[in-house]
Symmetry: C2
């Protein structure tokens, strides 16, 4: 079957991903090493993600603010464990001026900073410094802040949206009087992320706790939501950390209790990033390109007029514009429907396929006969083909407009259901020995980017080893390119033996290959 992309998922999943990002006009690599340019269609998706999530963040009592891009080196040095986790990958500003020297523009040696500045890889240290100044009394708690910002982590091997040196994200930072309150916040956010991913991105996830060795540097407990991509790999899609009083002690974030004593705060941090867009692509894309859940589609209904340089063109265009106006006056997901007429001076067949690749949820094509017959011919992007052919349907104009909200809701639900069935159907629970695990996943491909057969995840019991025993487990898994994703929130009452040691199990975990 001829598809709209030059490479299919089964040909080579990694190349297919790149083709979608390119052909859906989402983003491209930039000349600034490891950074991406997010193009209008990709950025439009990010804006909708921001709006939906920002509402949820504010509804749970958090306020937005903005902290500096730069962090003094000494701040990073203060939190030893944190440094260990991040020290290897940060952009360092050492000069504050350029100078023409011997005909070449270069950092001015006379403008060397006394203390280098780090471009924030995350903001715990600089926000903690503010917490330390702002928090005096139990009356100041909880302090619930969030910021939308760019961060930089130097990456040697980058992939658009999934792993780039600079990315966009939100980072929440909160301080609480007690461990119980901080832990409650951490879990409230985890649930907010789960609900957001499933409702808005139509991306089913498993929420759970990360194993010890996968914790955020400095965290006591790290939770994440994990989504299953169409190649069976896991994508960590959002994290929520309970930081204990580690950062509070390193930064002297203290408060006076109601009884007049001084106590350290318990802090949390949590974030999701533009990586979510990579997750949306790998969850919903098909061999014709992207399929966007309507809730985050910058254009939900695209109307393509079929023009033939004939007098009836004017009537077709007027019909399209009236239709777009009527649709825009309706709502879906609680906001006005985003409908447009595509009037670009290119062939209408090219327009159709541009919008297919970009993943517009509904593509309407209006020719003279539709205009004259007061009807609407449309394609659903989530069910584009019947066999090899493109499937279209027609409705009287009034019926189409009346059904538009439900149509978009149906597409949102169908994308979710398809992905949910894939996730639920591909977590094996019948593998109980490491040998069976190795046999199931098979040898790891040398090249991460190469396509390997779809495997999904395996759910097993383990004894939750620590220290060297855990390191040994991690190494055994690593030889198979496997990782422990999370211990899902829903745990049984009893456990089988540990798949690694045969000792009594104490927890079930998900194992899989991952991005």
């Amino acid at each position: 079957m001829k598809t709209a992309l030059s490479v299919t998922r089964s040909d080579n999943f990694a190349e297919w991903y790149q083709a979608v990002v390119r052909d859906a006009d989402m983003a491209e690599t930039s000349p600034a090493r490891g950074c991406m340019v997010i193009k209008p269609w990709g950025y439009g998706v990010w804006e909708l993600i921001q709006q939906s999530l920002d509402q949820r963040i504010k509804a749970t009592g958090h306020e937005n603010c903005y902290f500096p891009l730069f962090i003094p080196l000494s701040f990073i040095a203060k939190e030893a464990e944190h440094v260990e986790g991040f020290a290897k990958e940060m952009a360092v500003v050492t000069h504050h001026r350029l100078k023409m020297i011997d005909g070449e523009l270069q950092p001015d040696p006379d403008a060397k900073l006394e203390e280098p500045l780090i471009v924030r890889p995350t903001s715990e240290t600089i926000i903690g410094d503010a917490f330390q100044r702002w928090i005096r009394s139990y009356r100041d708690l909880p302090l619930l802040l969030n910021q939308w910002a760019n961060v930089v982590r130097w990456e040697m091997r980058t992939r658009l949206f999934l792993r780039t040196a600079e990315f966009l994200w939100q980072e929440g930072h909160t301080a609480h009087a007690t461990e119980a309150e901080a832990r409650e916040e951490t879990l409230r956010i985890l649930e907010m992320y789960r609900e957001f991913a499933e409702t808005v991105l139509a991306m089913p996830v498993v929420a759970g706790e990360k194993p010890e060795h996968e914790r955020f540097p400095g965290a006591v407990t790290t939770y994440s939501i994990e989504a299953m991509m169409q190649d069976g790999k896991a994508l960590q899609s959002g994290t929520s950390h309970y930081l204990g009083d580690h950062f509070a002690k390193a930064q002297n974030i203290r408060f006076q209790t109601e009884t007049g004593d001084w106590a350290y705060c318990h802090t949390t941090s949590w974030g999701v990033s533009t990586r979510l867009i990579g997750g949306v692509i790998m969850t919903h894309g098909d061999d014709d390109g992207l399929r966007l859940p309507p809730a985050i589609a910058p254009r939900q209904i695209v109307i393509v007029p079929i023009l033939r340089d004939k007098p009836e063109d004017a009537e077709v265009l007027a019909y399209c514009q009236a239709l777009a106006a009527e649709l825009s006056a309706r709502t879906a997901f609680g906001v006005p429907i985003r409908a447009i007429v595509d009037k670009k001076p290119i062939r209408s067949a090219d327009k159709r396929w541009d919008w297919v690749r970009r993943g517009a949820p509904v593509i309407v094509e209006i020719g003279p006969r539709d205009a004259a017959g007061d009807q609407v011919t449309y394609m659903r992007r989530d069910a584009l083909r019947a066999g090899e052919k493109v499937a279209s349907a027609s409705l009287p104009r009034g019926a189409f407009i009346g059904a538009a909200e439900q149509l978009l809701a149906d597409i949102q639900a169908s994308l979710f259901n398809e992905a949910k069935a894939r996730l639920d159907g591909n977590i094996r629970t019948d593998i109980t020995t490491f040998e069976a695990l190795a046999a199931f996943f098979g040898p790891a491909a040398d090249d991460d980017d190469a396509t390997s057969a779809f495997k999904g995840w395996v759910r097993v019991a383990w004894a939750r080893p620590t220290g060297e025993a855990l390191e040994a487990v991690v190494a055994r898994l690593k030889s198979l390119k496997l990782t422990i994703r999370v211990a899902p929130a829903d745990q049984p009452d009893r456990f089988g033996p540990c798949i690694f040691s045969g000792a009594p199990g104490v927890e079930e975990i998900l194992i899989g290959r991952a991005y």
Copy 2:
């Protein structure tokens, strides 16, 4: 008279400004040199500015996108005139890793970048590089993009919101087929900024063209909007540049015309920043703190319950919450009214003055008598005092709710009218010699920060000299700490003689002291 701030505008305007920023809880300096922390109340103002302006940017056909934080040094070097303007003040990233060496965390010498990266001071060069790749044909034009981003310009002497190393802004970048279209775009944006400043910020401005020596580095024509602060100084509050084909030629941004020839694009760029918040403070603040125009107030109506640790407290609180809910169900400026009950566990008198300093447009105080009598007692922040006393009014609850939208509109209008009268009343047009100009403004204070008597601006004719003659004019003005702000858009048919040379005038310009 005792005021809510420890320093008044007439005591010391610069210190008063700092006091407002601090006491209104807008922002503070950060340990990262020259950068600011924007606190929730200040960031809330920025979010509302963003929302209103973003609507206008999109309504004029622009799409948002995101370009990298980092610009390769070679890109900056390419545009000679541009370098000249910015080279002196950029943050330079030279390393991508830290390392513990001799017990001290420092840039890893093995991780020195081959080519330094510049933290964007503005994005013409990196966006131009994308334009060069994306634009092929006249069909791709106009290309109308915008991004919301952080930028960094190293500043030795910083002032919160007005001049900081890192600041937040939007930068529009467009490419057009013809000079006429690009010039039209430049002026469309200038008008958009004027309308936005006056309508949303209630900040009257004069829009006009910058003189040659004040142009953006690389621009053919630079326009700005200029606002008059309460110390009589000008604040450049937004700029719009016609860049000609300078950047297009330096970066090879070409397109094939309808006739098949190749031509260079004409480009524009334009931006406003968090500096606008400084303008709002210095336009509307008074000796009791900030006064926020309701359109950008994160909370428009703040309800303070007067509680006395008595049984009737519950009734007062319930009454307040019902009032907030009813107000929130109404709209003002086309969106729901932002009303809250302040339940912080502090004295209600302290709450009143906190909200006065923060500039909440309407402060409601509800005691048991109000609750029992079904009435609302409120203060308008724009008219806080009658003589030395705080002025409050009472209305039946239903009447207050019914009048809330109009009340907020009235406050918005009254703040604008007050500032408009100040602007219009303080542009002198009767000064025709340089000696009279010098005498009017008087000697320049040594310290920029010191308060000097309110002078306003002077409108004079000039012969629009260029080259050395212009440099001489600039130097004469500089000796008085004066600058040419703009040639206002509305010009007369005939001109008096040039105030600098006595030669026939060709243009009228505004002269004043400035931030």
